[in-house]
Symmetry: C2
Subunit: 359 residues, 2 copies
């Protein structure tokens, strides 16, 4: 395997729309959301390891999740776990990790990928990543993997590419923020719009050059620590300086304003497992379309539910349709699928009612 291949696995998110399973103390990526026997971060790590040497896969996460990461990926070394001491959006941590990687290997080709997405067809994923790395090794390019949209989803950003291009790798015209429904429909009808899945690939020098040009303040902040990176002094430097970083996404910071952005339309099925219903779409369900995870169940006169409990819990349900039913030791959620976007609001209401934070 190519020793210049690197990955930055983004594993700092909270996934509060998956409450009560996903919580701040134990977020979604550390759960076996699909009931496969592996957590999402374990699945993602194993998928990436088909094209990246395991020792070159870095986990970018919050200090809170250090123990969870080592528990679930026990072969990692400390070098591979990059901890953010403060909650910031993606731009600062990607720059920081990139500088560390560049110092270790100035020829590195890097993929940045979320740790909590579903991709079943791993061979095609590997093929698309390999194509992108090949391109990035020859061009000063910031690449993304774009997902062919299947409906006018208003929950994702979109990538508009050059409609005239016949290449498999296409030049990007614009990044578009989450659109309203009419705009999303227009994007789909045009045919040259893809969903932004937050998967990026580039030569480490290309991305750092972009930060230097487009985010000089952020670049200076982290460049100042370069002598400490990958040494014992790094921790102190980061502890002191990380919180000074602007809270900005990598999309806003460099992708939207760079003119060397390219996209490869993904040839594999993808799901961001962003909500209970998108998870439901990826689960096996019974003849009544009930997807049941972990429970021993007797479900009657009920259709289209997603039911998740602790392993082996007995569940008896009668006459419930299209619900999210999630039970764990401390909390039980019985909620209509069609209102799942409100689960974040529910968490606010719980906080108001009980004066406690249940996230």
């Amino acid at each position: 395997m190519n020793k210049n291949h690197y990955a930055i696995l983004m594993a700092g998110g909270v996934g509060s729309r998956f409450w009560p399973v996903s919580t701040k103390a134990f977020p979604k990526q550390f759960h076996d959301m699909l009931g496969t026997g592996e957590t999402l971060i374990q699945k993602t790590f194993s998928r990436l390891s088909k094209v990246i040497p395991e020792e070159n896969i870095f986990i970018l996460t919050n200090e809170l999740y250090n123990d969870l990461v080592f528990k679930q990926l026990p072969n990692l070394t400390k070098r591979q776990v990059v901890l953010e001491p403060a909650l910031r959006n993606t731009a600062p941590c990607i720059l920081y990790a990139s500088l560390k990687i560049q110092k270790e290997n100035p020829d590195a080709l890097v993929i940045v990928a979320p740790s909590d997405h579903w991709i079943e067809d791993e061979d095609t994923f590997v093929k698309n990543v390999q194509q992108s790395f090949d391109f990035c090794s020859k061009h000063n390019a910031l690449m993304t993997l774009g997902i062919q949209p299947t409906f006018p989803n208003t929950g994702y950003g979109y990538i508009e590419y050059d409609a005239l291009s016949n290449e498999s790798i296409k030049s990007v015209k614009q990044f578009k923020e989450k659109p309203d429904y009419e705009t999303a429909k227009m994007f789909l009808s045009k045919g040259n719009f893809l969903w932004n899945a937050g998967i990026f690939m580039w030569h480490v020098n290309s991305v750092i050059d972009s930060y230097r040009k487009l985010q000089p303040k952020l670049y200076s902040l982290f460049e100042e620590g370069i002598d400490t990176y990958n040494t014992e002094l790094e921790g102190n430097f980061i502890e002191e300086n990380y919180m000074k970083a602007e809270n900005i996404s990598v999309d806003n910071a460099i992708m939207e304003t760079s003119n060397n952005v390219f996209v490869i339309p993904a040839e594999f099925d993808w799901n961001d497992l962003g909500t209970w219903v998108s998870l439901y779409d990826k689960l096996d369900s019974d003849h009544d379309n009930n997807a049941i995870i972990n429970a021993k169940s007797l479900v009657s006169n009920s259709k289209g539910n997603i039911i998740r409990t602790n392993k082996g819990k007995l569940v008896v349900i009668d006459g419930v349709n299209d619900y999210i039913i999630v039970d764990k030791d401390e909390a039980l959620l019985i909620y209509p699928k069609e209102k799942e976007q409100n689960i974040k609001v529910v968490l606010q209401s719980l906080k108001q009612k009980f004066g406690e934070n249940f996230e």
Copy 2:
């Protein structure tokens, strides 16, 4: 307090209609079904102790529940706990306990009462028991406490009393088994029918006389052990002979065929807490008629539910009406109130599906 007053508290039932809270290993009477801080048997014991000296209250239960009884009523002595070595209906154990009490105190006035009913107005209960004891001390009478019916319930037996009587204690004409709906309506329209709540009062000699006359075989079986009762030899005798006893209720065995049966119409409110819905009627509920026990809850767009969890469990429910929602560590039930009579059938289905007994 009158040292001749005795009680036999019936605490051997399983209460399977309250699954998953009530199970064979931990039946209803040992649960705090009302969320008051006391279990049903504790409440019943404390109610009886207002008219019976505590040391004269005997608990009649199955060997399985010996530990639960002593845990929940820690001041009991071994003498007060009468264990059935085999599951039998009420006639054998009441005769057995009565013979033990008669041997200890031939002047005993005894009340037999279920351990899992709800009676709020304890003073009136005590008054009615006292009236009955007074009557039984003067007459060779088998007395019952009858409940004024509030609707044509087909789940109880009925007691028909002498419509012409002006006394507060009335002569009973007939015991009626559980009627069909039309018959129950007819009973209510007549005005001289009461629900049989399984509460009996008598002089110990009166009940034993009735057994002798009406159930000579059963009487002989238990009379043969008289020398062993209240001695160390009792256990062996019962272990050897109890299972020979006919499986018959006290109603069938003596009440229905005796001609010295009397009833006092109860002047207190009563509920047998026989099903989730009858329990629901006795619980406080919020402005949407949701009765919530133990849970920390956020219940929206939902009415008429009974919700019970472990203490302090967080429950979020939206858009569910008239349901029984019961959660405990090993099981979760989400079931329409109107189908609650099917819960026993559910237990059969679970057994078939999983090859295990979940009762």
